[in-house]
């Protein structure tokens, strides 16, 4: 009987801990995604300003090696190559495919896509700098939320597990 209780309590503790982890997942994913976007914008800047690389190639190169961004931007590049839909539309589809973004992140990234490539270098530089500042702000917020709400959720689930355990015992 004791062995069964012990096994059940381990199981409950593990599952509530797991649930807690799952609950913090969106916070974690958002931080990772925004970190990748921030790196992407930093890499994109010299490709546009100095190399004057065509946008489809510049997007791919700026995202290269990034786990989340690279595959969706590859698809975007292919869609642009087919020249069937407008850039804004293709950009929106790409954002919808990308996990981990919250509504306010989407808004900033939609704005980024709206003027990307559609002006001279000077304006592109200003546009990318503005996007970078916004992304930095979002990333700061996301890290704070992960630290506060994420940990709170994890702690709540763990506490819930312990409570069940106490009741069982």
């Amino acid at each position: 009987m004791i062995a069964v209780k012990l096994a059940a309590s381990v199981l409950i503790l593990a599952s509530t801990f797991g649930l807690g982890k799952m609950a913090t997942g969106p916070y974690q994913l958002r931080v990772h995604t925004l970190e990748e976007w921030l790196r992407f914008v930093s890499h994109l800047h010299p490709l546009i300003e100095w190399k004057r690389m065509p946008l489809p190639q510049a997007l791919l190169q700026a995202a290269s090696g990034q786990r989340l961004l690279s595959p969706v931007l590859e698809v975007l590049g292919q869609e642009l190559g087919r020249r069937e839909i407008a850039f804004e539309q293709a950009w929106q589809i790409m954002l919808n495919r990308l996990p981990g973004l919250w509504e306010e992140d989407q808004r900033v990234l939609v704005d980024l896509g709206r003027a990307l490539g559609m002006s001279d270098v000077q304006y592109q530089r200003a546009h990318l700098a503005a996007a970078r500042a916004e992304l930095e702000r979002l990333l700061r917020d996301a890290r704070v939320e992960r630290a506060q709400d994420g940990r709170l959720l994890a702690a709540l689930f763990s506490a819930f597990g312990v409570m069940i355990l106490i009741l069982m015992l």
Binding site: P54, A58, L80, R83, E84, L116, M118, S119, D120, V121
Partner: protein, 298 residues
């Protein structure tokens, strides 16, 4: 590659499905805001009709077309756009009509695009050799000026002359300011065959390009498209003083058109060019109308 390849759908499909006789002879496709799209041949005009395309072109649609033509990278094409055109791989040129935005008296960019003129560049082989045989009977010099109003085939003939002379073993440098002669296609790929011994200074302004060619590339011939005013002619003169032959083109209809422009009058009197070749569109684009050889300087 045909220029429609660079257009977005459904325009690409509409142009790809043109009847063979039209697609073989069309020279320009003109998009104008609020109007139907028209196709222009040497001696015909037709509206473009297809089930998938709108009856009239909107501002938004022109923006979308331009975006696709420049691969959504206007920042990379600003220098061209400031001059009112962009060049597609293969040497096809797109004239861009819109409102000029000035900064300190210089065109900074263009807004409110209201028209696009897609000019199809077609390579031809052969007339360069025929022209050479004809002109060599008149003069031994190899500096030639091709003259005609726009759309008479100057660039096409210049390209063929470059290829012909290059394949004869001459070292040719093409100063291709508008990427139209070689048809730059990105990453060192050129759309047109310019012969075995040709170097292309792609995107270089004419004056700087001629200087660099003379200093570093040791050309026997320099080819330049669409000469303008005094500074361009000065560059040509420097090349001639350096013992280099020049193949060039200019917009004009008759020799008196050129003589009315003081820098040109002086250049022609100095025999900067050994032959001035006038082109006509009839019976076909690129036909040589007559050749004017400047009188010898005594």
């Amino acid at each position: 590659m045909e220029p429609w390849h660079y257009l977005p759908e459904p325009w690409r499909q509409a142009l790809r499905e043109l009847p063979r006789d039209l697609s073989a002879t069309v020279e320009e496709v003109r998009f104008r805001v609020g109007r139907q799209v028209f196709l222009y041949g040497a001696d015909w005009i037709r509206p473009l009709s297809h089930a998938l395309i709108p009856d009239r072109v909107s501002f938004g649609e022109l923006d979308r077309i331009l975006g696709a033509l420049v691969e959504h990278s206007l920042y990379a094409r600003m220098e061209e756009l400031r001059q009112g055109y962009i060049t597609l791989p293969g040497g096809h040129r797109v004239g861009v009509v819109g409102r000029a935005v000035l900064k300190e008296g210089r065109i900074e960019t263009m807004r409110e695009i209201s028209g696009l003129n897609l000019r199809i560049g077609r390579p031809i082989e052969g007339p360069g050799q025929q022209l050479t045989e004809r002109v060599q009977d008149l003069t031994a010099g190899g500096s030639w000026l091709l003259v005609s109003p726009p759309r008479a085939g100057k660039t096409t003939l210049l390209r063929d002359l470059v290829r012909y002379r290059s394949n004869q073993g001459k070292r040719v440098v093409v100063v291709d300011e508008r990427s139209e002669i070689a048809g730059f296609g990105g990453a060192g790929v050129f759309g047109h065959d310019l012969g075995y011994h040709t170097d292309v200074l792609d995107g270089w302004p004419k004056v700087e390009g001629v200087e660099v060619a003379l200093r570093t590339l040791g050309p026997e011939i320099i080819a330049i498209d669409e000469l303008g005013g005094r500074t361009d002619l000065d560059a040509v003169l420097r090349a001639r003083y350096a013992g280099v032959e020049v193949l060039a083109t200019v917009h004009a209809r008759t020799i008196s058109d050129l003589f009315q422009r003081p820098p040109w009058r002086r250049a022609l009197r100095q025999r900067v060019f050994d032959a001035v070749i006038f082109l006509t569109v009839l019976p076909m684009v690129g036909t040589v109308d007559h050749v004017w050889v400047p009188p010898s300087i005594r």
